[in-house]
């Protein structure tokens, strides 16, 4: 599992720094696994 997938938990609890958030949201847009796990909470 690549490191970016692991950030989904921190994303859900609003614990990403702004640069990490931008990076993760870009990833989220193209990753069905993370979208499902994050469940569209934001």
């Amino acid at each position: 599992m690549s490191e970016i997938h692991g950030a989904v938990g921190a994303y859900v609890v609003n614990a990403l720094d702004p640069d990490e958030l931008a990076e993760f949201e870009a990833h989220l847009a193209v990753c069905p696994t993370c979208s499902r796990e994050g469940c569209g909470v934001r």
Binding site: G6, G9, V13, D17, V41, R42
Partner: protein, 174 residues
């Protein structure tokens, strides 16, 4: 919510009456200041009113949508205010599992409280600690890593595993 999105003020009033205590509670739990919490609560309802057309039932319940928004705004406020004094107070949080458990003991939400408490109890202490600091402390994952003197990857994993554990304990479908 559909009525709100069409500009029905009565529907919004009802929504406010039904949810405001809970929303305020979540925000207060993160901010620990009634004044700030009242302000942020107001901001949340302004956002709810403005964004109500963008709420989509497919994404989850109205209350989930609102509580997520409330938590995000509370955390944003913590980070923007972030006075050293308040920070120092919060640093005291990580001084042991017992204190962290007390944070959860104080959570006042009627229906789900017992289930959530049991769910939290089912996590390992290290998962609970990381999740509590991130969710209630409003810390970023890198701040949590600093506080606990752990590598970032470890914290990331604990937060995620903690959430997965909580989800499983609550019997929520993925």
């Amino acid at each position: 919510m559909t009525l709100c999105s069409r500009g029905h003020e009565d529907a919004f009033t009802e929504l406010y009456d039904l949810t405001s205590q809970r929303i305020y509670g979540i925000i207060l739990r993160v901010l620990r200041s009634p004044d700030h919490a009242a302000e942020v609560t107001q901001e949340v309802y302004v956002e709810v009113w403005r964004q109500s057309a963008r709420y989509s039932p497919g994404k989850g319940s109205v209350i989930a949508w609102m509580t997520t928004m409330a938590h995000r705004r509370a955390v944003d406020r913590v980070r923007s205010v972030s006075s050293e004094m308040a920070r120092d107070e919060r640093y005291a949080l990580h001084s042991g599992d017992r204190e962290i458990d007390q944070v959860w003991d104080g959570v006042e939400q009627r229906l789900d409280i017992e289930r959530v408490r049991k769910g939290m109890a089912s996590l390992t202490a290290i998962q609970r600690e990381a999740l509590t600091l991130a969710y209630f402390g409003g810390y970023t994952q890198s701040q949590v890593a600093q506080l606990l003197k752990l590598p970032l990857g470890t914290v990331k994993t604990r937060i995620r595993d903690g959430l997965i554990g909580l989800r499983d304990a609550l019997g929520v479908e993925a």
